[in-house]
């Protein structure tokens, strides 16, 4: 990875083409930094405007909604919905399903990430070295990841039904499969199905990491006579730390955000065991039409998402910091 930050790159772009030597050139260089830094700023306008419309405006609207009593009665004159202050937040924390859902969502996300990690790493190790049919294996590994979540949910819902494929297979070896889609076991159903669908993401990032380890490193290790195990533990895994950290953070966020899978598997109202945040907010917003309350729940859960997000941002900044350090 050799990223050059844009600010450092463009002397040729801003400087006159074919400018050769002499004091003039030095002058350009000196005046450059300020001019160059301001020059391309306007290029951010389209992106900035998009960000404003897609992120900032809706977020401000959501914040505003969360302090009003916006519901079916006030929707038509939504700008005049009564102001509630923190009323929605108080209701969400005291009488709503929010705390239970937060706990469920966190447990589900962390568990799923923890389960996908070894699967993804093992698959990446298996598919890294050259062998006959590697291309096919790599493609097959990606199938769960490229299937739309809706399809994954539907297929598993059918397979996990009382007379579905899973129970038929279990039955053939004398195990009574029982209920997967109702009752206490639903949480584990959700974890397992999402693990099935999500491990290739870890695999992808891990494989990319493996490929970025240079051939010369492998050769050096071979010359030193290290065993496969020594090589894995001391050379390969440490250099995978970056990609894996990213994978963990992004995957956790993704699981927290997953609405489609629990919705397709269990519907709404969902069993209490899988009433994760996205489902709870959906139900409040679109089944009981308490838009204000749902917005408050969303904002509150945003704080939750911010925690792994901050880690993510720190991890990303660490990366650029290293780049700068290397160039300085």
């Amino acid at each position: 990875m050799s990223l050059t930050s844009p600010a450092e790159r463009p002397p040729t772009a801003t400087g006159p083409a074919g400018d050769v030597g002499g004091p003039a050139r030095v002058g350009t260089r000196r005046a450059g930094p300020t001019r160059r830094r301001q020059g391309p700023l306007w290029l951010m306008t389209p992106g900035g405007a998009l960000l404003l419309v897609v992120v900032v405006v809706p977020f401000v609207l959501a914040l505003w909604m969360s302090v009003t009593d916006l519901d079916q009665y006030t929707l038509r004159q939504w700008a005049g919905a009564p102001f509630l202050g923190l009323g929605n937040y108080v209701e969400a924390f005291t009488s709503g399903p929010l705390l239970h859902s937060v706990w469920l969502s966190v447990a589900f996300s962390v568990l799923t990430t923890v389960l996908t990690l070894p699967l993804g790493i093992a698959a990446a190790f298996a598919a890294h070295d050259r062998f006959r049919g590697r291309g096919l294996v790599r493609s097959v590994f990606l199938i769960p990841y490229v299937l739309p979540t809706f399809v994954v949910g539907t297929v598993w819902r059918i397979a996990l039904g009382p007379d579905g494929a899973v129970n038929t297979v279990l039955g053939s070896v004398g195990i009574d499969g029982g209920n997967w889609l109702i009752g206490g076991r639903t949480f584990w159903t959700l974890v397992l199905v999402d693990t099935w669908a999500a491990w290739p993401f870890v695999y992808l990032l891990c494989l990319a990491g493996l490929q970025s380890i240079g051939r010369e490193v492998h050769e050096a290790v071979a010359v030193d006579g290290a065993s496969w195990w020594q090589k894995t533990v001391h050379i390969v895994l440490p250099s995978l730390r970056g990609p894996l950290l990213l994978a963990v953070i992004i995957a956790t966020l993704h699981h927290l955000n997953n609405f489609t899978l629990p919705f397709v598997l269990f519907g709404s109202p969902a069993p209490d065991e899988v009433n994760v945040l996205p489902i709870a907010i959906y139900s409040t917003s679109f089944q009981t039409f308490r838009f204000g309350l749902a917005a408050a729940m969303s904002v509150a859960s945003l704080v939750l998402v911010l925690i792994p997000l901050l880690f993510y941002l720190r991890a990303v900044r660490l990366d650029t910091g290293l780049e700068k350090g290397a160039q300085a």
Binding site: P58, R76, L181, F259, G267, I281, S285, S298, L302
Partner: protein
């Protein structure tokens, strides 16, 4: 999570606001008629009859142009979520279809938004008068006769379907008239892997209807004036009976804890259940292709609640809710007169009869209903049930109550499957729901 949903809603709001600014809608209307105008109609997709629906749309377009000179554009939705998001966006922006087809149980929510045209005498006359309709279907038009927004378009009453061959074999004369009789019959019909009654405990819509029905029969309308009566003992008793079919009476296949309506229909169609309650004429296409094609009949569900030999004092002989689709005209529409002419057309006797024959639902037009009943004996009991249909409480709080009642069943499915639902669990949930429901009813009362 939330964020994406939220962004979607907020985004919809933003887009809606900006669209509203450039709004307008097609006014015009050249000449004597409405030539050049286009009416937008938003209606549910008939998933089982895609080609028929296309033909029907073309037919209505032609008829409407012949009648008014204006044209019609149809847009369809395939889920309640899709429908509601469209309505919400349109309500916020004041722009969208002129006419919506909405379900009867969603009508109170739509009414409470104030976004639809109120129908006074003038408007009713424009669509052919109130007298044109089967009286019971008007019950979900509004909270009272002075405040109505919805015109009944199609009717789909809930009934009992039973296997005539199995009834004859067991020596049972006809459909039961009390729920205890139904249980007794079902016990006679249960042997081996064949059960007396198919149930759809895991259906997203069906469970609350049973609870509403039994509660009504016990004398509790669930919402009385501005009081929610969910914690009334009759509701707990309703759940008791509802779950008891499986856990106590053992007349239901234990797998039914995992069944939605389609699964229960399939089970009945395979001849593994002798009866299936809370179903409708919409199962006819499925049954017609099944082994029981020539051995089933419909009947209204019993009107005497479980554990009683006669309707208790104050009890209402309710079996089916007023079920089906209504038409509402958006209050932002700039061509409401034209919209009412469309409503007049599709609720006329000829069009209602045609629609009913194509899609298997029942007409709301009284004359068309009579014509259908005299043509097909099979439909007579369904029509009879429809005439006796009772409305659900017309309050903006109903969505919340309906969801809460269904939720109690959802949380009880595991217990059901294991063979017993702890009564204290239901009691606790009912107490919680009472609080939520009362708050929602208060809110609805304050908003009126």
């Amino acid at each position: 999570m939330s964020a994406r949903k939220l962004v979607a809603v907020a985004g919809a709001l933003t887009v809606a606001v900006s669209l509203a600014a450039c709004g307008g809608g097609s006014s015009g209307g050249g000449g004597g008629g409405h030539a050049g105008q286009t009416l937008q109609v938003y209606l549910s997709r008939q998933a089982s009859y895609p080609n028929e629906q296309q033909q029907w749309m073309q037919h209505v377009k032609d008829e409407f142009t012949k009648k008014t000179g204006a044209s019609v554009e149809f847009e369809t939705y395939s889920s309640a979520t899709e429908e509601q998001q469209k309505i919400q966006t349109s309500v916020v922006s004041g722009q969208g279809p002129d006419i919506y087809e909405i379900g009867t149980t969603f009508t109170p929510t739509a009414y409470s938004s104030g976004a639809f045209l109120k129908l006074g005498d003038e408007q009713w006359n424009a669509v052919g008068g109130r007298d044109r309709f089967v009286p019971s279907t008007l019950a979900m038009s509004g909270p009272d006769e002075a405040d109505q927004i919805a015109v009944p378009f199609s009717s789909l009453p809930f009934v009992l379907v039973y296997n005539t061959q199995m009834f004859t074999a067991a020596g049972i004369g006809g459909p039961p008239s009390t729920w205890d009789e139904l249980v007794a019959d079902a016990k006679k019909l249960t042997h081996g892997d064949t059960f007396g009654l198919a149930m759809d405990y895991k259906d997203p819509f069906s469970p609350w209807k049973y609870v509403w029905m039994f509660a009504q029969q016990y004398g509790n309308p669930l919402v009385q004036g501005t009081t929610a009566r969910i914690d009334d003992p009759t509701v707990a008793r309703a759940y008791d009976a509802y779950f008891g079919f499986l856990t106590e009476d053992r007349i239901v296949n234990p797998d039914a804890a995992n069944w939605a309506s389609a699964d229960a229909t399939a089970n009945f169609a395979s001849g593994k259940s002798a009866m299936f309650a809370m179903t409708s004429a919409s199962v006819i296409p499925t049954l017609a292709k099944s082994p029981v094609a020539n051995s089933y009949a419909f009947a209204p569900m019993p009107t005497v609640p479980p554990g009683e030999s006669a309707l208790p004092a104050g009890g209402v002989p309710a079996t089916t809710i007023v079920s089906g689709q209504n038409l509402v005209v958006a209050s932002y529409s700039t061509q409401q007169d034209l919209a009412l002419q469309y409503v007049e057309l599709v609720t006329s006797e000829a069009e209602q009869q045609h629609f009913s024959e194509v899609f298997g639902v029942l007409p709301t037009n009284a004359a068309a209903a009579d014509a259908i009943a005299s043509g097909k004996a099979q439909y007579a009991p369904v029509l009879e049930a429809g005439k006796q249909a009772k409305p659900t409480p017309f309050t903006g709080a109903w969505s919340e109550i309906q969801l809460g009642l269904t939720n109690i069943t959802v949380q009880s499915l595991a217990g059901l499957s294991a063979g017993s639902v702890p009564p204290d669990q239901v009691q606790r949930q009912l107490a919680d729901l009472q609080k939520t429901a009362q708050a929602a009813v208060d809110k609805a009362a304050a908003a009126r």
